[in-house]
Amino acid sequence: MKSQHLLIVLIAFLLFNCKQDAWQLHRIQGAQININDTLQPDADIEAFIKPYREHVNRDLDSMLSYAPETYSKSDGEFNTAIGNLFADAVYEQSNPVFLKRTGKNIDMVLLNHGGIRAIISKGPVTARTAFEIMPFENSIVVVGIKGSQVNELVKYLSKAKRAHPISKLHVVLNKDYEILEADISGVVIDTSKTYYVATNDYLYSGGDHMTFFQPEESLDVLDYKIRNALLDYFKTKDTINPVIDNRFIKLNK
């Protein structure tokens, strides 16, 4: 009897004890705190960032080239000065890389109008300019496609009615947006020939509904970011002088 009694006391104690001992989640409170200028910046963190910031800003703001005018992607209907610069820069910078790797030349360049993210302002052209017009990390790829696919590409341009940046390709539309002429470096497109088109990885993958790059005959990833190509291009030019030309036009006939 006695030991049984003790056991009950012991169990009672244990139950009581474990009730005391266990921590149980009973309330959750959630909040979101906006980080803004009402908060005092931490002086140590600020001091730590300072030399990095100064180095980046010094580099970003150092002059690479000079722009005699302000250039915007809304300057022209089918081709713009800034878009022509964009596509020509990609051609000039990546063709030597492609030629060295493959022994072949790039036939043409196609980029997208939406990929030009800012204007080039009159005055010094800096690294910051390149970061502003090309904030994305897209890289240059060279896609080998049949002439028949290049014709699809031209058809796309005629329907898009936008100044998608091109280089080496020449397209003339009539007043109804029908293709009157299309050639690459002055030679009519041969449907059975393979053409090497430089573009970016986003468009190659079908971005902006550019579905004509696949299936491809060949693909060369140049490991060369578009932005870096622009930076390198600016470094080679004392003054940039992009113009609207006749590479992609519409006639009123």
């Binding site: 012991l10 244990l14 139950l15 004890n17 474990c18 009730k19 005391q20 001992d21 266990a22 921590w23 149980q24 989640l25 009973h26 309330r27 959750i28 409170q29 959630g30 909040a31 979101q32 705190i33 906006n34 980080i35 803004n36 200028d37 908060l39 005092q40 910046p41 931490d42 002086a43 140590d44 963190i45 600020e46 730590f48 960032i49 990095y52 910031r53 180095h55 980046v56 580099d59 970003l60 970061f131 990390e137 990885d201 990833v221």
Partner: protein, 305 residues
Amino acid sequence: MKRRQFIQQTSASAALVTVGGFGLSSFSTAEKSKKITILHTNDVHSHIDPFGPEDGRNPNQGGVARRASLIDSIRQENPNTLLLDAGDIFQGTPYFNYYGGELEFKLMSMLKYDGATIGNHDFDNGIDGLFAQLPHAKFDFISANYDFSNTIMDGLAKPYKTFTKNGIKIGVFGLGIELAGLVDKNMYKETVYLDPIEITQDMTRILKEDEKCDLIICLSHMGYNYKNNPEKISDLVLASKSKNIDLIIGGHTHTFLSKPTIVKNSLGKNMLVNQVGCYGINLGKIDFYFDKEKNVTSEGNSIIV
């Protein structure tokens, strides 16, 4: 109910071992409740400096130095605080292009982050680029569903980590988004993506039953939800299909929520999913209050959001 029984059994067996001593500390302490604070960021994307006053979208917001002073004041108020990041630390300002993530990791270390999971953009300089910056991170990378066995990152990310704060054990496990189609294979190389639902079953079991955590947090870079593709795994999907997670801290979709979302898990129990936008504009703060069991009425956790 199982959770309560489990705690009772554990405590009872512990008491049996020491029976006779009666000197259990819980008897003498007057502490009636404990508070654990979880602070979190996601998708900071190399935004170290605040946005300028002329910024069209987020003028005068963000900034690591301001975040540091805010976190300091919260830690002073409650030292039992964890600071976590849900990935995409890299990419978004020239700081990343110039320094490859070094400054981001150094600053997060100075802010004493306790852990971070890996976002898709953290592969932007390749898995080698991430590896190269690891010496600058004094916090752990937590990822359970990226199998790095055949990569340079092998053994350098933990599937989960536990922290004990004021006697409360907190388990944190990490989940990443499927990389195929989102990140170039040349960047993530032989990283193998594992099914988040299956991994979560393993993680919650380990953290609850083996590690005996009082609080389980999932640090996710899977995205809040996908309206046009509701079947796609996301934080809301995981929340409703899992159990024993108290909080999912999310990222990837740059979702600004006016308040954390309360979701019923697979057992019908309420839990929280939160995400605080991007670029270090906001800091998430979730306080968990623990009470002695006698003060708790059945299963009722009150969630105030």
